[in-house]
């Protein structure tokens, strides 16, 4: 093959494009696809087949391509399985053939082809049965290495992808005559139209096959319509976009190739994953030509006739001497048209007996191609007519076994198409998918005139449903020749005839499947792997099920189709995950003190989506625990400062606020005095603990509920649900004020002294009290609460002042011998005191388990009360909260470890419980733990063995009360 001297509507000859294929420097033109450029450069094998490693050439000119899958290199990374028929050429493009070594022309594994008799469908199920142990260790790895398409890149995919949303009244899928007329009709009616086209150029088949529309060249008509559509503000044209799936509610998945064709994409994403929501959709995706299964039909040079025409018309590729083998009128008229344009048609072979016509080439009716020759590419074909064989020398064989409507999208929600005997193909039924109708060739109307009319008609129907008036639109004149064919699914002659080129499935494989009992089309597919390659059997499904029907003696409609599922075309994982890489995966929530704590060198840990300081290292610290111990010391001996703004804060306001809180908390909040704070527990409906926190009464009808950081959203959702579902009409409203207030914990024996610097005096505030205060002119809130067991305050200011408040508090604390403390120290302080977090409130515990049964009011009902009294949720069999101390104070405890009797083996049947939280307590000079142990409260003083099988840690521990430090609580109350 070579480039023609003139022609080629898609290319700009003046703009040469250098590229490399398998290390060879080549040159194409701007507008070329990689496939057209390779053909124009005389490249015949472009890859090796899946199983037999046979040389394979370009078969099609579209996304249905099964053979021309290549590896694309860019910036040191590579993409496998790129369809050369869609990949546009750009300067510096570097591609490599797949599935071959050392080269596509000389491939070592071509030896497989000699072993073909042993490698029939399902051979590995039978051959590699023995010895059993060899399957996973030897056979499977070997088969995987030998088979497969493309190599999975091991490097991180650094390319940019994008996702986007689009909305329209009418989505038109496909821009051939049908799609263009549909878009034009709807566009003129004022509907918001999105017209998508897989190709770089809009226009569909007329771009490849020429012809006349509206008294002029089809290409000219296409350009005129496109110009009008581009001028309509309500029409969006989306070329290079494949709709790959239809989902509920009129949502369509589409993949746009945005920067894949650019030499230097810069910030342009490689692909964009669109979710298009359309009120109505018209499927104008046309039809795909089908090959014919004849012996030797897989050689490079064997192409679909439509592809031969496309490469000739659009990319000026001269296929050399061409034999056309068809079974339908369209094949003959195409051959005649191409011959008229100067293509060398060596012969036209038609399986029908009654074919006649004027042609400048030999026309052989009642003939079939029964063989091909040519190792690296086609050299000649063998023809059989009336029992006699002859040979014709040629470079290209153009196959046309008829056309299949491209209907896969209509079946994506489970509906099945129906058989149309006249065109020997499946067609969609009207109403298969709500809101989507097929039109034109996609529903079996094959003449250009019929497509134009059907496009208008489909648009009219959609506009009527949208409540818009369709304009009068003149139908352009066009060819209306009938399309007749006599089905020819396979040529019965000796030799292998391929159905599925991508997965190397032959007619024999399908017959074997039927013979071995896999006679259902779904079973045949899985047994032979037909239709399971990246092309999803677009050029083989119909042929395979016809061969199966023949083998089983059934009819084609009786045999049925396999299930069509999204995606219709391959979609890269990068596109599906667009926007969710790195920080895009989860948003960050940063406190107002974030800049300061990072400046202090604190490593950050994530809690919920929040980032909080782990600890504050100082020069010379040998490890993190040194910093942690120091910070615990601040709080126990002087004063520590910690940003606790991340805790959820929910304002509950209104005359019924107290009544509502009584209903959601286990305790009574309605009798809380204004200016007082109470610790509260919320249960889920099932009686287990949901969250704990404080509840402050700020005013008569004004409460502030605090939640743990990670459960803020869950609690808000719960409260909203309870209010709307159970308390409708109650006079109250909820509002999250988490972000409004920056709240700092000030804890330690010198907390009051520090506060005096901040407020001008130490407020006379009792433990569990609240009062509004002023920090200069700034109205603030002061709570006397403690999560450390020391005298503690929490000072809340509007968030804009948070950064400065934290900075000044830390400076003041440092002046008093204290400083900032992080999450590690906070954890040590609370474990020393036996205070709870969601490490203990793990979703499985009840208030009884935590020893908080006393907080469950007997005088009122509350959410979870009834369920918490169910048998099995209280009693000696429950895992109950206990403290743990190791026998040897230096013996490290580990969270997640299990507890067993001292002499018992570490088996589940002997399990006594597990460790929830641990810390090293610098205050007490020992490791401490909180654990859930069966009947734990009654077993204080008992010794168990801690066994952490995962980390290999074992030691003996004594069960004790979970409050290790200052059990009377005098330090925080005084």
């Amino acid at each position: 093959m070579k480039r023609r001297a003139s022609g080629g509507s898609a290319i700009e000859r003046a703009r040469g494009v250098p590229f490399r294929f398998d290390g060879r420097e080549m040159r194409g033109c701007r507008g070329d696809t990689l496939a057209s450029a390779l053909l124009a450069n005389g490249v015949r094998p472009v890859g090796r087949s899946f199983k037999y490693h046979r040389p394979r050439g370009v078969l099609t000119a579209g996304s249905e391509e099964p053979n021309a899958l290549v590896e694309l290199k860019r910036d040191g990374a590579y993409q496998p399985n790129i369809r050369a028929t869609l990949q546009e050429l750009h300067p510096g493009l570097e591609a490599r053939a797949q599935n071959c070594w050392p080269s596509v022309r000389r491939d070592v594994l071509a030896v497989n082809d000699l072993l073909a008799p042993f490698l029939s469908a399902g051979f590995y199920y039978k051959t590699f049965m023995w010895p059993r142990a060899f399957w996973e260790g030897l056979y499977e790895p070997l088969i995987r290495r030998a088979a497969g398409l493309g190599r999975l890149p091991r490097a991180y995919d650094a390319s940019l992808h994008e996702r986007a949303f689009a909305f329209c009244d009418l989505l038109v899928i496909g821009s051939g005559p049908t799609g263009l007329m549909a878009a034009l009709t709807a566009g003129r009616a004022g509907a918001d139209v999105v017209l998508v086209e897989e190709d770089r150029q809009m226009g569909g088949l007329p771009l490849s096959q020429g012809g006349q529309i509206d008294g002029r060249g089809a290409d000219g008509w296409v350009q005129r319509v496109l110009r009008e559509l581009q001028g309509l503000p309500n029409v969006r044209l989306m070329p290079r976009t494949s709709v790959f799936g239809v989902y509920d509610g009129g949502v369509f998945g589409a993949l746009e190739r945005v920067g894949q064709h650019l030499a230097e994409p810069g910030l342009v994403p490689r692909e964009c994953y669109w979710r298009i929501t359309a009120k109505r959709a018209i499927l104008a995706s046309g039809a795909l030509e089908r090959p014919i299964a004849h012996p030797g039909n897989d050689r490079p040079g064997v192409m679909l006739l439509s592809a031969v025409a496309s490469y000739w018309q659009r990319w000026a590729v001269d296929p050399g001497r061409v034999v056309v083998f068809g079974n339908n009128d369209h094949a003959l008229t195409t051959a005649q048209a191409l011959a008229a344009e100067g293509m060398q048609i060596a012969a036209y072979i038609d399986s029908r007996e009654d074919v006649a016509g004027e042609a400048p080439f030999p026309l052989r009716a009642g003939a079939e191609v029964v063989g091909t020759r040519g190792r690296q590419g086609l050299r000649e074909v063998t023809i059989r007519a009336r029992g006699r064989e002859s040979r014709i020398a040629c470079d290209t064989l153009g196959l046309s076994g008829g056309w299949n409507p491209t209907l896969a999208l209509t079946c994506h929600q489970g509906a099945r198409p129906v058989w149309d005997e006249a065109i020997a193909a499946f067609v969609p039924r009207p109403g298969m998918l709500p809101g989507l109708e097929a039109a034109g060739a996609a529903r079996g109307c094959f003449s250009t005139a019929a497509c134009l009319a059907d496009g208008v008609e489909a648009a009219r129907a959609a506009l009527a449903e949208l409540g818009l008036t369709a304009p009068d639109i003149a139908l352009p004149e066009a060819d209306d020749s009938p399309y007749t064919l006599r089905p020819l699914w396979q040529v019965k002659a000796p030799g292998r005839a391929w159905l599925d080129f991508a997965n190397d499935v032959t007619t024999k494989d399908v017959k074997l499947a039927a013979q071995e009992g896999f006679a259902s089309v779904e079973h045949m597919k899985r047994y032979t792997t037909q239709g399971m390659a990246p092309d999803q059997g677009k050029s083989s499904n119909m042929g395979a099920l016809a061969v199966l029907a023949d083998a089983t003696g059934g009819s084609i409609p009786g045999t049925g189709t396999t299930t069509f599922r999204p995606p219709f075309v391959p979609v890269s994982i990068g596109a599906l995950g667009a926007g969710a890489r790195g920080k895009g995966f989860r948003p960050e929530r940063r406190t107002t003190s974030d800049t300061q704590v990072r400046a202090l060198g604190a490593p950050m840990i994530e809690a919920g989506l929040w980032y909080r300081p782990s600890y504050f290292p100082k020069p010379g610290d040998p490890d993190w625990r040194t910093a942690c111990n120091r910070e615990v010391g601040y709080v126990r001996k002087a004063v520590g400062v910690c940003d606790v703004s991340t805790l959820g804060k929910i304002a509950v306001q209104g005359p019924d606020a107290g009544r509502f809180l009584d209903f959601v908390y286990t305790g009574t909040m309605s009798r809380l005095a204004v200016g007082r704070v109470r610790y509260g527990l919320m249960l889920r409906e099932d009686g287990h603990v949901m969250d704990d926190g404080t509840c402050a009464r700020l005013g008569e009808q004004d409460y502030l509920v605090t939640t743990t950081t990670a459960a803020a959203g869950e609690v808000m959702r719960h409260l909203e649900f309870v209010q709307q579902a159970f308390c409708r009409g109650w006079q109250l409203r909820l509002c999250s004020v988490t972000e409004q207030w920056a709240q700092m914990a000030i804890a330690g024996p010198l907390a009051g002294e520090l506060l005096a610097h901040v407020l001008g005096e130490v407020p006379d505030l009792p433990f569990m009290g609240y009062q509004p205060v002023q920090v200069g002119p700034v109205a603030a809130r002061l709570f006397r609460i403690s999560f450390s067991g020391e005298r503690g305050y929490e000072l809340a200011v509007p968030a804009r002042y948070g950064a400065d408040l934290f900075r000044q508090l830390v400076a003041l604390a440092e002046g008093l011998g204290g400083g900032a403390y992080g999450m590690e120290a906070l954890n040590v302080l609370r474990i020393e005191k036996g205070f709870l977090t969601h490490a203990e409130i793990d979703g499985f515990v009840t208030a009884f388990d935590l020893g908080l049964q006393g907080m469950m009011s007997r005088k009122k009902d509350f959410i979870g009360k009834a369920a918490s009294g169910r048998p099995g949720l209280t009693g000696a069999e429950r895992l109950q909260l206990v403290g743990l101390r190791p026998q040897d104070p230096t013996a490290e405890l580990t969270a997640g470890a299990h507890l067993y009797p001292r002499e018992a083996p570490a088996k589940a049947t002997h399990g006594q419980g597990h460790v929830k939280s641990v810390c090293y307590s610098p205050t007490l000079g020992t490791w401490l733990g909180l654990a859930l142990v069966t009947n734990g409260r009654a077993r204080h003083g008992e010794m168990l063995r801690l066994d952490d099988g995962l980390r290999g840690n074992r030691c003996e521990v004594t069960l004790c009360d979970p409050v290790f430090f200052d059990p009377e609580g005098g330090r925080m109350r005084d």
């Binding site: 994008e162 909305f167 920067g259 342009v268 895009g584 109250l732 509002c735």
Partner: protein, 177 residues
Amino acid sequence: MIELSASQPFAGLHLPFSHGATRLSAIVPARMTMIAPFPGKTEALVKLLGGFPAPGEVFEPHLRLVWAGREQALAFGEGLPDGLETCASLNDQSDSWAGAILEGEDAKAVLARLVAMDLRALPAPSSARTMLGHLPLLLVKESEAEFQLWTYRSMAGSLKNDLDQAMRSVAARRAVT
């Protein structure tokens, strides 16, 4: 007694900036109050406020009222009428939100990368509660080329990053032929 200085939600995030035909700028926070009428008290509230926005509505009887969720609206500005607290829950939200203005010819194209909403259908002005990528969003459409985007203050950095990336991408696409 100490004195406190204020900082803005987008402090250190280098707003405003432009990419291609789109500009992102920070809104200097004004007084924002979340108003949620108690059940059955909407009529009394309407009398005091001069109206209350239905879902998606933005209007300005005196103060600008922006629908901000089920039976709640954000009031922008000072001067709420007296007696409002008897018929509604009132919460100062001036520091809760980080707001930015996205404007320009490609503003809708930028939002199409992040917001799964049909912005064609929204009149101007109007509001919607939705998501911007993974972020909670209060969107106020001011015109076909101007949108206010409000998220929680702590997420200002993520809002800026997501928009920055989408703006760059849309600008880069303009150069594609």
